[in-house]
């Protein structure tokens, strides 16, 4: 905790939207801010509690379907997140978090649920889960190196006419297997990348911090560089394995034996 000038990072409902390790985005962002000499205050908001209106960065993670529906209803009633996006606060929404900020997404029974319309995108249920390493080339204006992560989603996301993808798929499935990954709307980002995405891509963490607190000098992370290379190299085989499993499951419609 820190003084009133500290950078406030808000983690939205981690008890609901934290199924796939995305809590790590908060840990990494806070750690990097400290390494940059920026004082931080992290606020993890319990479901049902009000979201702070004056956050500097908002983080939303992935979830199972029922939690996604419940969180959407709470965020709609709360209203703070839409206000924050409206004033240009940096936001990172991962997987189910991105889907719920779109126009609609599938609920537990597959029927469409209305989203919060921060992003111009629609998600519908797919016949199998897109699982595996994911590598993308981020939108050029972000000035970022290649993005690496792990995707695990049943939904197929189609971007609307006003939406810009966060990246172009190099290896993996992405939004709908047609080349786009995630969404970029000003300082609001949506992505299917877990890993967690900010641990795998420290440059993206620094970009969010720079939007909130000004330019960040580069930091040396030899271990993370090594990790990124390893995961990027492993991606083609990962995608091959998971597509094979998906095809077998569709033909048997039950979980696989090891």
């Amino acid at each position: 905790m820190s003084g009133p000038s500290a950078l406030r990072i808000i983690e939205v409902y981690p008890a609901l939207l934290g199924t796939y390790g995305d809590h790590g985005n908060l840990l990494v962002l806070a750690q990097r801010a400290r390494r940059h000499g920026v004082a931080v205050e992290t606020v993890s908001v319990a479901p049902g509690q009000p979201l702070p209106r004056q956050g500097d960065v908002y983080l939303i993670g992935g979830a199972e379907d029922a939690a996604q529906v419940a969180a959407t209803a709470m965020m709609r009633a709360d209203g703070a997140l839409a206000d924050a996006v409206g004033r240009g606060a940096p936001l990172l929404a991962v997987c189910a978090g991105m889907q719920m900020l779109g126009r609609e997404f599938p609920g537990p029974d597959g029927a469409p649920v209305a989203g919060l319309e921060v992003f111009d995108l629609v998600t519908s249920p797919g016949p199998w889960r897109a699982i595996g390493e994911l590598v993308t080339d981020p939108a050029a204006e972000l000035g970022l190196p290649v993005l690496t992560g792990f995707e695990n989603h049943g939904g197929r996301t189609v971007l609307g006419p006003s939406a810009v993808p966060l990246g172009r798929v190099r290896v993996g499935f992405g939004n709908d297997d047609h080349g786009t990954e995630g969404v970029l709307a000003g300082h609001a980002l949506g992505t299917y990348l877990h890993g967690p995405v900010l641990a795998r891509n420290p440059a993206l963490a620094d970009l969010l911090l720079s939007w909130a607190a000004g330019p960040m000098a580069p930091l040396a992370d030899p271990l993370v560089d090594q990790w990124r290379s390893e995961r990027i190299a492993a991606a083609p085989e990962s995608v091959r394995v998971h597509r094979k499993i998906a095809a077998e499951r569709v033909s048997r419609s039950r979980p696989d034996a090891s």
């Binding site: 390790g21 049902g48 199972e64 792990f150 695990n152 967690p196 271990l223 979980p255």
Partner: protein, 411 residues
């Protein structure tokens, strides 16, 4: 179609041949041959036997071992002790041992089919939490499938579970009869929402309840209080275990209650549990050079939380072995759901195929990871004496297949 006795004979021959050729224990081959020739083998082999099934995300192997040893104090028991807990391993266990009682560890996803095939009288559900999400997606569908399974179970079926896990409680509440056990399991991040209606669950101390539909923690019939097991009439018995850790007190409690359903009194059941010194190599201590190495398994956030709780007080040097194969989960994002912050400031030596994932997670938590090439490389330079090695599922299998573990007589 081959008569069943002929299929079983061929399968036994295949297993014996495989062993004779030095191709391993034959565990998988026998079952594979049998299921190819007779897809309903589990049903045929279980017919007329009294079966108990144990499943759950964590603790199923240990609970199965406690229960097996407890029942063996009274009658012979068939058991899949090698941890092969899918259809093949279960068929093999029943093929190899014709004892009229069987205690079987069952993979979570194979439990409904196994219950239907065996008509097991006793079903122990240890707990449910996120595990191998890149294989299975999430736990919600699993909870529903367990509930349907128990709703359709024959009248004599009893489900035994912890009432501290709302997910297994929801499943067991549909059973013809349920016995509730208060356990010291503490993972709650997969039951933020009511499994029955999707509203937020409220919690206060041990108690949990849904403000939406009224679903709530049942009063435990049995409960663990400190290191004592309190039975339904209030009688207290000490749980004395050789195995470490809070979670194993809960596993032992579930096993004692299940043993009771199979006619074994709590005293001999507790005595049997007390004698268990290691389970499939886990918890056992072996000497390697000048180090006494204790091997622990941690395979998902809930089991890691229990292991960290165990490590927090101790000052033993730590070595973590991290892989990312199918059984470990190929996506290791979940390492960030584990509260490694309790290791802040401590040095941890890390090896394995996914040592970078682990080292970077530990660094984020404020611990001091050091990369190593192998267990011996990790041990080199550590002071002589006890060392705790915490391994992922396949990293543990690899270690057990190497000396000195491979030379120990494994039960």
């Amino acid at each position: 179609m081959l008569p069943f006795w002929a299929a079983a004979t061929l399968a036994r021959t295949a297993a014996v041949t495989s062993r004779a050729l030095g191709r391993g224990s034959g565990t998988v081959i026998g079952g594979q041959v049998l299921l190819r020739l007779a897809p309903d083998a589990v049903r045929r082999l279980a017919a007329g036997r009294t079966c108990a099934l144990v499943s759950g995300s964590n603790g199923k192997t240990t609970t199965t071992r406690f229960l097996t040893d407890a029942v063996r104090s009274r009658v012979p028991v068939a058991n899949n002790s090698t941890g092969s807990n899918m259809t093949t391993g279960i068929a093999t266990a029943l093929l190899d041992d014709r004892s009229p009682t069987a205690v079987l560890e069952v993979d979570e996803y194979y439990l409904p089919a196994t219950l239907a095939a065996t008509d097991a009288r006793v079903v122990v559900l240890t707990n449910l939490s996120r595990d191998q999400l890149d294989r299975y997606g999430g736990v919600a569908d699993l909870v529903e499938s367990w509930r349907r399974m128990l709703a359709q179970a024959p009248a004599g079926t009893v489900a035994i579970t912890t009432c501290d896990d709302p997910l297994t409680t929801y499943a067991a509440a549909a059973a013809p009869r349920a016995v509730w056990v208060g356990t010291p399991y503490r993972w709650a991040l997969d039951s933020t929402l009511c499994p029955a209606c999707g509203a937020l669950l409220s919690r206060d101390g041990d108690h949990w309840w849904c403000t939406g539909c009224g679903f709530a923690r049942p009063e435990p019939d049995w409960r663990v209080d400190g290191d004592e097991l309190v039975d339904p009439s209030g009688v207290r018995r000490r749980i004395e275990l050789s195995l470490p850790g809070r979670a194993n007190l809960g596993n032992a409690a579930l096993a004692v209650v299940a043993a009771g359903e199979l006619g074994v009194a709590p005293e001999p059941a507790l005595a049997a549990a007390a004698k268990v010194g290691g389970v499939e190599g886990r918890f056992s201590t072996v000497r390697r050079g000048e180090h006494e190495v204790r091997l622990l398994l941690a395979k998902n956030p809930a089991s890691w939380s229990e292991v960290l709780d165990m490590l927090a007080g101790g000052g033993r040097p730590l070595v973590f072995a991290s892989n990312g194969r199918a059984a470990d989960g190929r996506d290791l994002s979940w390492l960030y759901d584990v509260p490694f912050e309790s290791l802040a400031g401590r040095e941890v030596r890390v090896f394995g195929e996914r040592r970078l994932d682990m080292a970077i997670r530990l660094e984020t938590a404020g611990a001091r990871p050091r990369l190593a090439e192998s267990l011996d490389d990790a041990l080199a330079g550590l002071p002589a004496g006890p060392v705790d090695v915490v391994a992922s599922y396949t990293a543990l299998q690899d270690l057990l297949a190497s000396p000195p573990w491979s030379q120990e007589a494994r039960r």
